[in-house]
Symmetry: C2
Subunit: 337 residues, 2 copies
Amino acid sequence: MTKAEFQRQPTSFDVARKAGVSRSAVSRAFTPGASIAADTRDKVMQAADALGYRVNELAKGLSNQRSNLVGLIVADLDTPFRSAQVDALTRELVATHYHPILFTADGPVQTARTLHQLLHYNLSGAVVTSDAPPSEICIECARLGVPLVLVNKQQELTAVDRVVGDNPHGGRLAAEALIASGCRNLVAVRPSRQSYSLEARIEEFLGAARAAGITARVFAAGPQTYEGGRQSAAGLVAQAMAPSTGIFCPMDLMALGLLDALRSDHAVRVPDDVCLIGYDDIPQASWQPYRLTTIRQPTTLLAQAAVSMLMARIENPAAGRRTSIVPVELVRRSTTR
Amino acid sequence: MTKAEFQRQPTSFDVARKAGVSRSAVSRAFTPGASIAADTRDKVMQAADALGYRVNELAKGLSNQRSNLVGLIVADLDTPFRSAQVDALTRELVATHYHPILFTADGPVQTARTLHQLLHYNLSGAVVTSDAPPSEICIECARLGVPLVLVNKQQELTAVDRVVGDNPHGGRLAAEALIASGCRNLVAVRPSRQSYSLEARIEEFLGAARAAGITARVFAAGPQTYEGGRQSAAGLVAQAMAPSTGIFCPMDLMALGLLDALRSDHAVRVPDDVCLIGYDDIPQASWQPYRLTTIRQPTTLLAQAAVSMLMARIENPAAGRRTSIVPVELVRRSTTR
DNA sequence: CTGTTAGCGCGTTCAT
DNA sequence: ATGAACGCGCTAACAG
């Protein structure tokens, strides 16, 4: 015995033999809704239990032409909102007897490449929370019958299932909250890297402000990070700190950086001098030094919507493409009056 | 045409036919280090390219008795340190041509159940960053030849591969930093939920302090969260705020909550009245209001160590179990003097 | 170096 | 309701 030898997992054949039935019987016993006698089923289950048998998902997937793996394509996983999102999606998927296979993709090209890799696994579907994949990829997935759900992504030319937070409503809520706080000079912080969700929030924010007869404009800021928020403070103060200013930063992480810089580097009092409102409601937004007023996106609801949408398409691949809109809500804290 | 029909992925057979070779040739062309003529390989690749062929990982895994899926068992994924950890692990895995399949497990029981589920996928291995699985499970994995790597987990009775940050060294660094700041009254915060890593840090912290002739004791605190840190402040102030107190909170997330409560609810000045030092160096630790002195655990190094250890065991399953220790370092910021 | 053959473990007709 | 036979797509062992 020179090489270590490992014990093999029991197969349906082993179970069949021990139960004194055929392999088909075993298969049926583990297939919900298959026609099998109750006592045969019991015999099988008993034998399976004794042997510690589990159906091999790989073989099952190969045979079915469809595994119960679901691709999870994520960018910025180390970011509070995204990690909460992935956590929620994972829980939701396993609750539905699927397993997430994780991919990180930082750009649209990577997302496309990644989506290609998925196809190797006969996935049941994929959820994309990184950049929106190019239309060609969406088409390819559709052609191969791989359901795709985009979370908080742009409406593609290609019709594809999407679930989005109610960005326009969020933008409007932000404007209204700021106006109600007495702000008469509104500004929306726009990160350097464009993003569908952020843009949608900002656009409606501006629209709502102007509809109320309030001046509102956009400030071109840095990257979508805490540091990006910090760095934007200087420019913002220089350009835009008229009295009764209200700032909308459509992403909490950035808003927190901005808030820190405003207070400590520029002696701006929030909410006394200016008001600030964020978006997402990440855990840190409620921490003591911040108490940031923000628009909450419920990650659990988003995840549930995404998964149920995926299931719906798996059941009925031919149905029309849908968009599911998840409500958002204003969370009042201490950066507005 | 009543039902939608989807296009099938090309198989090795299709490629073989188009290239005018056998299926084995195709397989060999995609198997690094297989013996195949250069021009046959080229013909295959060309045909494969034209058809958009990809090897089916499911079939490959079934045939090899081993997929290139790696299980990632995680708890508290929505926490800053854990999400960074998972991010790093994912990148490291895909760089090594493996794909992570994600599981969230919140307790030891769940971890065990989860580990069982993995076995359905002929995994190449698994990385566990949630609670340490019971020995029986480790044994079972070993029996089935599924490599297991535990990250920051206790030394099990069962010998199993582990990678850990240098917890004792971290604890010592913390004690030294506090003493160097003039603290003569040390206290370690111990969360309610026991954990191997935290315990190891605390133990060495206490040891180092006492070796230096400094009094040091443990404060029994709340859960391992920001809120847990906040809630612990009151008790800590009541019991332990002698002059020149130095606090070691072996987990940043909790330390930040503690710091906030200390400052705003109890008017304790940090670092003037007391010093505080955390552990992990999560991104938030460097944010403006905190500037927390802490012990950095490099998530990237941990991930690299874990993956390379996994690879080593895959190559040589019979080798002796190892423990890889990843260095930590002190990051001096503004909560120590 | 190449083609042929035989599994990998399971789902699913197709008879009975 | 049950068993036999075939196919899912691929790799590995065997001849040539």
